[in-house]
């Protein structure tokens, strides 16, 4: 048989970090070199495969933040450091980092949507001089759902980070309210110079994009990332298709001018 792209390879779990009750971050030993925003197919033989976006990567490792939502992810959560899982990929198109150069970059991430952009945030945080300004707006359901607490704290020392929750609790002293509320009050003297990344649940993305458009940010300056059912990751199985577009091939990251035309 010819080279088999469905064949996954075995990777070792270097570190597991519990983010929330249902979100764990796995650091894996791997030599793959993904682009920021790409995904991999993670599998456990005999259990199944699922697409997971790479939340960060470096020399010899990649990191994924996995929510416990189904058969495969439930079992993944039972693994321990030193155990193995299987991956194939990376797949899809990542964020066009070059495009953000010398721009005011605003990243708006809702919930688990923060995972696929984490490496983008890190990238620019390490190279703050590449962009004019960096803003991160991130919203979660409740304080218990906040992801990457350590990173958020570190980032907020270096650039402008807004964390908000839909519903606070007695210990929460931060922002409360939807992300859109914080977008609304932003002020862009020169909206043409603003580049925006929006990632999150469908409703959050829809309304957040609308707010940026209202502020005068041109459509082509908005990048979004889609979450769709994926199976093969290779443009064959059909599950991810929207109109004539395969999310696994042309996405998950899309320019908004394209994304707005995609109707499921």
């Amino acid at each position: 048989m010819a080279q088999n792209p469905y064949l996954p390879h075995k990777v070792k779990i270097l570190e597991i970090k519990r983010q929330t009750k249902i979100d764990y971050t796995f650091k894996l030993e791997s030599s793959i070199k993904p682009d920021n925003g790409q995904f991999v197919e993670v599998s456990l033989p005999k259990i199944g495969e699922c697409p997971i976006s790479v939340s960060d990567f470096g020399d010899g490792w990649i990191e994924m933040t996995i929510r416990r939502v189904g058969k495969v992810t439930n079992v993944l959560h039972d693994l321990k450091e030193g155990d193995h899982m299987f991956i194939r990929g990376p797949y899809g198109n990542g964020f066009p980092l070059q495009k953000y150069k010398d721009k005011h970059l605003v990243i708006a991430a809702g919930g688990t949507g923060l995972a696929p952009v984490k490496s983008v945030v890190n990238y620019f945080n390490d190279r703050l001089d590449l962009v004019k300004q960096l803003n991160l707006l991130t919203g979660f359901k409740s304080p218990e759902d906040v992801l990457f607490k350590d990173e958020l704290e570190a980032w907020s020392k270096d650039f402008n980070v807004t964390v908000t929750v839909d519903q606070g609790n007695k210990d929460w002293t931060g922002n409360v309210g939807l992300i859109t509320g914080y977008v609304k009050v932003m002020d862009f003297p020169n909206p043409e110079e603003v580049e925006v990344i929006v990632v999150g649940p469908p409703m959050m993305m829809k309304f957040t994009v609308q707010e940026f458009l209202k502020l005068g940010v041109p459509e082509e300056n908005i990048t979004v990332s889609f979450e769709r059912k994926m199976c093969c990751g290779l443009g064959k199985c059909g599950h991810c298709k929207i109109d004539d577009t395969y999310v696994c091939l042309e996405g998950p990251v899309f320019n908004y001018t394209k994304a707005k035309e995609l109707i499921d």
């Binding site: 290779l234 298709k241 395969y246």
Partner: protein, 341 residues
């Protein structure tokens, strides 16, 4: 070169072919129809020409020869992935022009789409050769002429059955020896033979050239929401539907071993777009019908330059709710023409 011979003589040819090929053709499985007292005409292995059903359309298509409904991708033994081995024999498939043209669609998905050719498809596809079956008048619901898939030159043999005589045209020099070996000793006659193709069907379609998002909210789709039960028959019988889903399992008698396989998927069946966690993007049968129609008559063409549907009419033949895909396309055309509201 064309030849005429008796079925007995042609069966000798088949016997020879069977040494190197698995031969698949439309066969009639008695009593295997859905309803009691009905037969199932479908693809199956044949050993003699009398097994081949020439005068009826199959319920399922020839795609199964290279894209089986359920296919093992890997066997897992402890920590190892093992790919199943394949039969070394070639595959010879009796097929009509629409079905032969359908392979071009499958090729587009499996060999051209994405960064890699699909190795499972490829290894079977490379062995595949066609025996052309002609259609006298076409069948009910066929609309190949409208799709431009009523003719083909991609066949190794043409086989025509008339009474106890078989007419065979060899269109692939690789097969020439087969007959010439028999020629000397037998009463095989050389004849002039040209493939005949249907030029008109009862069902005729004009495919609207610009099917776009503006039709997505048309009330037309709501009708299907109430009619379609989401059974998936239209996809499973379609020679061009290529979607699949992967599944992993472990053997109950030996849980440390198992397999990963892929099975046919249907965009009409609930769950096709469901993500882990339960969200599903197309929830109604109306949306699903729209998606299917768009794939067959618009989306695919945007990517590959020709329509996906080959007009075999099987989806219409098999729908238990009497939903006709060609009729739906006609309605879209009428809407485009301003006919239907």
């Amino acid at each position: 070169m064309g030849y005429q011979m008796s079925t007995v003589e042609f069966n000798n040819v088949i016997s020879k072919l069977l040494l190197d090929y698995r031969i698949l053709a439309p066969v009639c499985l008695e009593g295997k129809g859905t309803f009691s007292g009905t037969d199932l005409v479908t693809y199956g292995d044949i050993e003699r020409i009398q097994d081949v059903v020439f005068d009826r359309k199959t319920v399922y298509s020839a795609k199964e020869a290279v894209f089986p409904p359920s296919e093992t991708m890997f066997y897992f033994t402890e920590e190892e992935f093992k790919q199943p081995s394949v039969d070394q024999k070639g595959i010879l498939v009796f097929a009509r022009p629409c079905d032969i043209n359908a392979f071009k669609r499958l090729d587009a998905i499996y060999l051209e789409s994405g960064p890699y050719p699909d190795p499972y498809y490829l290894q079977l596809r490379e062995k595949l050769k066609f025996v052309l079956m002609e259609c006298d008048h076409g069948f009910k619901n066929c609309f190949c002429a409208s799709m431009g898939t009523n003719e083909t030159s991609d066949f190794s043999l043409l086989v025509r059955s008339e009474g106890d005589q078989i007419f065979c045209l060899i269109n692939d020099t690789g097969f020439e020896d087969l007959i010439s070996e028999s020629l000397a000793s037998n009463s095989i006659r050389k004849v002039d033979l040209q493939p005949g193709f249907v030029q008109r069907n009862k069902t005729r379609l004009q495919i609207p050239d610009k099917l776009d998002n503006s039709l997505f909210s048309h009330p037309l789709w709501q009708e299907y929401a109430s009619r379609c039960t989401g059974c998936g028959r239209c996809n499973f019988s379609c020679p061009t539907c290529s979607c699949f889903t992967m599944q992993d399992l472990f053997y109950r008698d030996n849980p440390s071993c198992g397999e990963r396989r892929r099975v046919w998927a249907s965009c009409m069946i609930e769950g096709y777009t469901e993500m882990a966690g339960g969200q599903e993007v197309r929830k109604t049968q109306g949306e699903r019908m729209r998606f299917k129609v768009m794939h067959k008559f618009s989306d695919f063409k945007k990517r590959f330059g020709f329509h996906m549907c080959v007009g075999c009419g099987r989806c219409d033949d098999v729908c238990p709710e009497y939903i006709s895909l060609p009729r739906c396309v006609q309605k879209l055309q009428e809407i485009k023409n301003g006919g239907v509201r």
